[in-house]
Symmetry: C2
Subunit: 168 residues, 2 copies
Amino acid sequence: MSTDLTAPRWLDEEEQQAWRSYLRATRLLEVALDRDLLAHGVQLSEYEIMSMLSENPRRRLRMSEIASLVVQSRSRLTHTASRLEKRGFVRREPCEGDRRGVELVLTDEGYAAVRAIAPLHVASVRAALTDHLTRAQLLALGTAMQAIADGIEATGACEEVAEGVLPA
Amino acid sequence: MSTDLTAPRWLDEEEQQAWRSYLRATRLLEVALDRDLLAHGVQLSEYEIMSMLSENPRRRLRMSEIASLVVQSRSRLTHTASRLEKRGFVRREPCEGDRRGVELVLTDEGYAAVRAIAPLHVASVRAALTDHLTRAQLLALGTAMQAIADGIEATGACEEVAEGVLPA
């Protein structure tokens, strides 16, 4: 009469197919976007941070906030920030009002780089992602992905990233 | 009367929202799955290769084939294979009939590890992905992702990965 609560709920064939398509597409997409950006001298992870800073009215964000936004460990973000700093695209400054915190600031040179690369990057996102879907498919994909993000965040994985618990 | 073919096709607000949800969810999902597997001593990239080998009747695959299946550069795959080899989970052997090629072979110890971890990994995929979607949403997600993968593969990005053109 007992139910085995520990029996694995294996994926059935259709679920398995969906999961494999997901894994393969996410990787191919990352490779395609990264390849296109590398032709312009930046990695996807670098561009994303610069783009995020460029959208902030003060062109600056706390490192902890960026880590949470891009879902990266603090140590990986620190490496990325160092590379961008060497190229003159960002600089690190103590937070106003909180000297222990660090903010990343987009320089004029970094802002110019984002403006130059943005049209190429959007063309790349169109070619690799949106051009392969109908608008309805794209919006449904967005809704499903938002449900996944919300579901995972409810478990607290996100805070672990921000706190640097996870490996670089 | 002329059309500016080079004008960027910027994402509109809904497309932008879908794209951001996609980026955030893929990363959170990777973090969540990796975290769960690390608790059992393997990384997602390591488990995936072992799992793939375990499904092959001969428990062996060519390195070039694995690189293409998991969409990894050859150099990154070589590093992963070395780590797995040190732990006794795989060994490298020359291909039968083609001494220049290398095959990765899952050892009995590696097979036992996959069998032990698989139920935990599927629970992790359920908790992080499928439990947040209806079945219809999951299958639609799979269809959309397959369209993206097919679209990108038609551009040839995949061969570049297999040939090790891309960075590790």
